[in-house]
């Protein structure tokens, strides 16, 4: 995983609650056996007027001018601002890959679905929970001022507006350290190989039917 460094990034607002992972990356794109290349199909059914299929030439597709990410002022956005329960539904990590591949590095919402939230930290996308009222205010500000950006400092756990207002967010220390150091979680776990083996032996004696 790549290290997460602090960023000041343009904000794009996605003003919907309960955005599900089927909407983030529709199923036809899950047929890929690769980890990359999902960004062009992020929010495919909202973003384009034609039906998307894998391997389509993106330059020949019809973008939906009403969809927020197609508006000129949000091009290059790195922070997605959205509503409650973002990422609900399917466990597809492809949703996180698509957001990242598109260019998002931070998602801000009042709440996230559990599996999406967990997946995001595994690959270095930072999901930040801020209160409904702060998110409401940010929505208002992003609509009002073109070029609205936010500064995200993971070390200090703050999101700061260009006006200088700073909001603290919580993050689990283990996740924070993995993000800041770009650690390989499998490698970390394998450092405890002896513990796993010891547990396994005990488990085998207690519940032998679980082992062949």
């Amino acid at each position: 995983m790549e290290k997460f460094s602090n960023l000041k990034g343009l904000v794009a607002p996605l003003d919907r609650a309960n955005v599900d992972t089927d909407a983030i990356i529709p199923k036809q794109f899950l047929k890929s056996i690769n980890r990359s290349g999902f960004g062009k199909n992020l929010f495919d059914e909202w973003r384009y007027l034609d039906n998307g299929e894998p391997e389509m030439d993106i330059t020949k597709r019809k973008p939906n001018p009403d969809f927020v990410l197609n508006q000129a002022r949000y091009q290059g956005a790195e922070i997605l601002l959205t509503r409650t329960n973002f990422g609900c539904g399917s466990s597809r990590e492809h949703a996180v890959w698509a957001l990242q591949d598109y260019g998002f590095r931070v998602i801000i919402a009042p709440s996230f679905a559990d599996i999406f939230f967990n997946n995001s930290f595994k690959v270095g996308l930072l999901s930040i929970v801020l209160s409904v009222s702060i998110v409401d205010r940010m929505f208002q500000e992003v609509y009002e001022s073109e070029g609205y950006s936010l500064e995200v400092n993971l070390d200090c756990q703050t999101v700061t507006t260009s006006g200088g207002e700073s909001y603290a967010f919580d993050i689990d220390p283990f996740r924070k350290s993995n993000l800041l150091n770009g650690l390989d979680e499998i490698g970390l776990t394998l450092q405890h190989m002896d513990l796993i083996k010891a547990f396994e032996e005990k488990h085998r004696i207690n519940q032998p039917w679980l082992f062949k």
Binding site: K31, I33, R35, A113, I186, H192, L210
Partner: protein, 466 residues
């Protein structure tokens, strides 16, 4: 005193970390073709091997065709994904039920069917509906591909302990009211984020009276309430179901196992973080009207009017959902006409589901406005059993198509999908936009309700036709 969740948690802790985080040992890892290729690739790149091969069971289900299997998979991209699973399993020595194996089916149907899901286990799969297996008093939850790789490599996961919710359903369900209706009624009550951060235990006399099939339906839908894991205590019904299954212990081990399994229940008087009560007698057949499972109403109800909702975010969501669904506020649910009927998915494709639907359609024929009514059994063995009971004939005689097992039109990764604006009564679990096909319109219902709608051509209260 401990809850079932605490018992399952404690018996799998390899290492306690700070902040309620622990390294948990995983007993069963179910693998399918969609969320695994990048995990296998990751292992290969890092030069790692699976930790414990006998914990892994693989099957292709999402991409497989439900028509004649001998012709293989038409779509080259789907075919490559299924071939990739086959190749990975062959190379590494992982047990896989291939497409032509009678044991092939939806991963959450075949795990329990084979006895590969056993009480007391931790069960994971790169699929959110892994919560299904909690019906066997397992700690079972869906994971992403990075975690699939992590479990393959280490047999463990770093997991944060969840809060605990008890959902108590008491009383007798009315005729024609099923576990699916209970699940949808719960989601209607607590919302799709109501269970976020919680592990849910379903209990009460209604749950105790459910068959294992019904319990699996209930736990399956826990994730639609936001709960990663749903679970139900062990009782005679659980043990009876597992007995003699191929992967289940036999002889002395069976005795030892069942003695342990019977301890897998929450201790009397234990306190949960949250308790929800439902009266089974009040639950009616449910139908979703919108694009989230929480947008649900009883069959005798009407499509709600967003204008009556004060919360502006919620009102906008309702308006958008109604526009997508092509519905007008205050329309009676029974006046909603359908184009397609789908009976299947990891929620409702087990033998009991097929029996319930067959009972409704027996001796009748689908309405002329129904373009397609299909039954997709959850596994090759469910299909076989249904055929032995003559259910396939009942369905065919009623105008249904009788298909090969797989996920099919629940998420439409294969050739089974809705065309834009087609309206479907579906026994699956998600009515999200585009879930069953771009611009397709999904109404979630029980198998009996879907069957009744197929015959009438529109929704009807199944209690009136049974």
């Amino acid at each position: 005193m401990q809850t079932l969740y605490e018992k399952l948690w404690k018996s799998h802790v390899v290492q306690e970390k700070a902040d309620d985080l622990a390294l948990l040992y995983i007993d069963r890892h179910l693998v399918h073709e969609v969320t695994s290729p990048q995990a296998f690739e990751g292992l290969r790149i890092a030069g790692r091997r699976p930790w414990r091969l006998d914990s892994v069971l693989a099957v292709a289900d999402h991409n497989v065709p439900t028509t004649e299997r001998a012709y293989g998979i038409n779509d080259p991209i789907s075919r490559l994904q299924v071939d990739t699973l086959d190749r990975n399993c062959e190379e590494l020595g992982i047990t896989e039920f291939k497409m032509d194996d009678v044991r092939q089916g939806i991963v959450h149907v075949i795990g329990p069917e084979q006895g590969a899901t056993l009480p007391g286990m931790t069960v994971v799969c790169g699929d959110s509906h892994t919560s299904t297996h909690g019906a066997f008093a397992c700690l079972a939850f869906g994971i992403g591909t990075s975690e699939v790789e992590h479990v393959l490599a280490t047999q463990c996961l770093s997991i944060k302990k969840a809060k605990e919710m008890q959902i108590l359903v008491d009383g007798t369900l009315g005729r024609g009211v099923t576990a699916k209706d209970v699940a949808l009624a719960i989601i209607g009550e607590i919302g799709t984020a109501g269970g976020t951060g919680y592990a849910v235990e379903f209990s009460g006399s209604t749950v105790r009276a459910l068959s294992m099939e019904g319990r699996m339906t209930l736990c399956n839908m826990a994730i639609e309430a936001g709960a990663r894991a749903g679970m139900i205590a062990v009782d005679d019904i659980t043990i009876e179901y597992i007995s003699e299954r191929p992967f289940a212990p036999k002889g002395d081990l069976w005795e030892k196992a069942t003695a342990y399994w019977r301890t897998l229940r929450s201790d009397d008087g234990v306190i949960f973080d949250k308790v929800i009560n439902l009266d089974a007698a009040q639950i009616k057949p449910q139908v979703t009207w919108g694009t989230s499972p929480e947008m649900v109403i009883t069959v005798d109800g009407r499509v709600p009017d967003p204008a009556q909702t004060i919360d502006s975010v919620k009102r906008k969501d309702m308006e958008r959902a109604l526009e997508y669904m092509g519905l007008t506020p205050n329309t009676s649910i029974c006046e909603i006409y359908l184009d397609k009927i789908f009976i299947g998915s990891c929620t409702n494709s087990r033998i009991e589901d097929l029996r319930a639907a067959a009972q409704v359609v027996e001796g009748k024929y689908i309405a002329t406005n129904i373009k397609l009514a299909m039954v997709v059994p959850g596994s090759g063995l469910v299909k076989l059993q249904a055929e032995q009971e003559g259910l396939d004939k009942i369905f065919r005689d009623a105008g249904f198509e009788w298909r090969e097992p797989g996920c099919s039109m629940c998420l439409a990764m294969n050739d089974d999908y809705l065309l834009p604006k087609e309206r479907c009564a579906s026994t699956s679990n998600r009515n999200f936009e585009g879930r069953q096909g771009p611009a397709g319109r999904t109404h979630l219902v029980s198998p009996a309700m879907a069957a009744a709608a197929a015959i009438a051509g529109h929704f009807v209260d199944v209690r009136e036709v049974l």
